[in-house]
């Protein structure tokens, strides 16, 4: 099976470890991974601020990058949600690109969706002996409908103790440009989220979107809280390596 990575601009530039973990997990399941070079960004920062032309210029790089792909897999529910929810509309006036956009929607998946629903994997054979809490990111949850997949994967990780996060489904206050434009409100939101992460007693916060994790993690670090913030791919891959040590 061949998968093209839609790596997202955040993971590409800020969190390459997430990309690496994702590639290694996919490789483990015999998936051939490539990274089409012409991709940049899904256009969401511009689109959500109302700059449609600017968004389209970035989004077009994804249409070009993934024309020939069988599957496109991304480490972000938000960026995948952008493709699913808005690309058809973004390219609706262009007959060829709108067909390409619809084709892209059909073959694009967020990582946990791809693992659980396409590869039919729920147990990656990982061991992660830590207390973990999970923040479901809004766009993954609501635009894309990623609900159980990350939890199914986490529930099979050996020795992982998942603790509930109060108000888990509440937004962390990132919202892209919102965090800059309305930073007072955003700060109130992320403070509450960070407090709740700390209250949960978890050693590790896990999520499926680098933007939210950057936001919550940045707040926790500012407050000097020792909670480790991980993308689901990082946690699973680290756990898979630990699982190996134990089984041998």
């Amino acid at each position: 099976m061949k998968v093209s990575l839609f790596i997202t601009c955040l993971v590409d530039n800020f969190f390459p470890n997430v990309g690496e973990a994702m590639v290694r997990i996919l490789h483990h399941y015999g998936v051939d991974v490539d990274l089409p070079e012409s991709q940049t960004c899904c256009g969401q920062p511009a689109f959500n601020s109302g700059y449609v032309k600017e968004a389209r210029a970035a989004a077009k790089t994804l249409l070009d990058a993934f024309d020939g792909a069988d599957y496109v897999v991304s480490p972000s529910g938000s960026c995948t949600g952008m493709i699913h929810h808005y690309f058809p509309q973004l390219f609706q006036d262009h007959p060829i690109d709108s067909a390409r956009a619809r084709a892209l929607v059909d073959k694009t998946f967020e990582l946990s969706q791809f693992l659980v629903n396409i590869l039919n994997v729920t147990d990656v054979g990982a061991r992660f002996p830590h207390t973990v809490t999970y923040h479901p990111s809004c766009h993954g949850l609501r635009l894309l409908g990623v609900k159980d997949e990350p939890l199914q994967l986490l529930s099979h990780v050996q020795d992982l103790r998942l603790v509930p996060l109060t108000g888990a489904n509440d937004c962390c206050g990132f919202g892209g440009t919102f965090a800059v434009k309305m930073h007072d409100i955003s700060t109130a939101m992320v403070s509450e989220k960070a407090d709740r992460v700390v209250e949960s007693g978890a050693e590790v916060l896990v999520g499926t979107d680098a933007g939210c994790l950057m936001n919550i993690g940045g707040r926790l670090r500012k407050q000097g809280q020792p909670v480790r913030v991980m993308h689901l791919a990082e946690l699973l891959w680290e756990g898979m390596q630990q699982g190996k040590v134990v089984s041998r």
Binding site: G50, E54, A57, A58, F174, K181
Partner: protein, 485 residues
């Protein structure tokens, strides 16, 4: 509403939210109540079962009605008139207020009692009547509280959501109560005593309208305190104000809404009082007003008809569920929106109903998390509309120069992968002076708002795409590159 609007719009949503964020009482009160309402909604909709199917049916009914609004409005008006009611169309808030003032003055009324109605807030009817020397008393408990406080409602369903019990006790004491405690029974008992006298003396009763049934010409009111029935039966004249989109074709449609609205609003299976008013009192009836006047308000609504992006805003049944789940509303409350309608629905509706520059900043008060859409009992895509309103601001040249330049820059960089890679390489070098242990802990300029409350990660030493190349090279050499478990 121009004078008030101008006064409010001296400030922006940013200024107003900053004030609200400093008010711990307000934030505590809003958090407490919205959380309780969310829990009740979840429980009551689960108990009903098939909630998604109910929502979809609700959406279909509203969609059909609004698509044929002209037809159903005509049918409604004909039926009201056939039952002896009077109907007035008002193009805007001013016209609606003047129409009502005329009716009230013709009756030589001294005292008008009101039950809760958002549309009456929209036309600022209290102010208009009081200026003519007519006493207006709000009889919904929450509305009564904020009337005493001289404020606007801060929630569509719970107008005084931002008030704590002890603040309410103080307001009631200032209004003449003695020896009050903060006990709910005590507080409501005072309001009940104070309002009873008003009900009995009122010349005019004023209500809103939750739904207007076209097939019968009936006005349907959903209330919980019984005050709506007092207002609509005791005074000799009953004036209904309704937005032109309140229509439902039939009673069968009302059944669906009667399931959706109370559950979404307060988590009740059924509203305590559902009153169906068809015409004024008939000869053989004991209760009811001699006259029924219905003022149907447009005020920017008809401009949304036929608009692909925004027509659905007229589907709203004013349940307030989107407020209760909104993380922005949760932290800033309703007054920070500066508009009659707060929360996600207010951030969409207000800039649509007010065509000028005022309120065009409201659509930015959202992280676009989509909780509003998920909560909406008639599935209005509020998050999409917020984005569309921002796009409209860009198209109409309302955004700041610096922002436009920033997105021009974004386009330049992100339209071509080669340029993107070069710029990111440069940025990795340029960030070095800012770094502390791999993080950016403080900045100047536009990112200051971020770093004031959060550390920002540094751009990684090498990008993922560079790393992927070395991983591929390792695979080609036959090494596992560390990916074997």
């Amino acid at each position: 509403m121009s004078t008030e609007k101008d006064a409010i719009q001296v400030t922006t949503i940013v200024d107003r939210s900053r004030l609200a964020l400093q008010d711990d009482f307000l934030r505590g009160a809003v958090r407490f109540t919205t959380e309780r309402l969310r829990g009740r909604k979840a429980a009551s909709s689960e108990e009903l079962g098939n909630w998604e199917a109910w929502r979809e049916r609700g959406r279909q009914i509203r969609s059909h009605t609004i698509a044929h609004l002209d037809y159903y409005l005509r049918q409604f008006v004909d039926n009201v008139q056939a039952h002896g009611g009077h109907v007035y169309f008002a193009a805007n808030a001013e016209e609606a207020a003047q129409t009502i003032v005329k009716i009230v003055e013709k009756k030589q009324a001294k005292l008008a009692v009101k039950s809760k109605s958002m549309v009456s807030e929209e036309i600022h009817i209290n102010k208009h009547l009081q200026e003519r020397g007519i006493e207006v008393v709000e009889t919904d408990l929450g509305e009564y509280i904020i009337q005493l406080a001289g404020e606007m409602p801060s929630h569509i369903i719970i107008p005084a959501i931002h008030k704590t019990r002890s603040q309410i006790k103080d307001l009631f004491t200032a209004a003449g109560a003695t020896n009050l405690t903060t006990d709910t029974k005590d507080l409501t008992a005072f309001a009940r005593r104070a309002l009873r006298d008003k009900f009995l003396r009122a010349d005019v009763g004023m209500t809103g309208c939750n739904f207007a049934i076209a097939e019968s010409g009936s006005v349907v009111l959903f209330t919980n305190e019984g005050n709506g029935r007092m207002v609509s039966t005791l005074p000799k004249t009953h004036i209904v104000t309704m937005g032109m989109e309140r229509i439902l074709p039939t009673f069968a449609d009302l059944e669906v809404m009667a399931n959706l609205l109370p559950r979404s609003a307060t988590g009740q299976k059924l509203t305590t009082y559902m009153s169906v008013i068809t015409g004024p009192r008939r000869a053989e009836e004991a209760d009811g007003p001699d006259e029924l006047h219905i003022v149907i308000l447009d005020n920017g609504r008809s401009s949304q008809l036929g608009d692909d992006e925004f027509q659905e805003v007229l589907h709203c049944i004013r349940c307030g569920a989107c407020l209760n789940v909104c993380p922005v509303y949760r932290h800033i409350g309703g007054h920070a929106y500066g508009s009659v309608y707060p929360g996600p629905i207010g951030a969409v509706l207000t800039p649509l109903l007010n065509q000028g520059e005022a309120y065009q900043d409201l659509p930015y008060a959202s992280s676009l998390c989509g909780a509003c859409y998920e909560a909406c009992p008639v599935k209005i895509p509020l998050h999409d509309m917020l984005v569309a309103l921002r796009r409209r601001n860009v198209e109409q040249g309302r955004t700041k120069w610096a922002e436009r330049m920033a997105f021009q820059g974004y386009r330049m960089v992100f339209a071509k992968a080669g340029r993107y890679k070069r710029v990111m390489r440069l940025a990795r070098k340029a960030q070095k002076p800012l770094l502390r242990q791999g993080y950016v802990e403080s900045t100047m300029g536009p990112l200051m708002g971020w770093t004031e409350s959060r550390h920002a990660p540094a751009l990684a030493k090498s990008s993922f795409r560079e790393r992927f190349q070395s991983m591929q090279q390792a695979w080609r050499r036959g090494e596992d590159g560390g990916d074997q478990v």
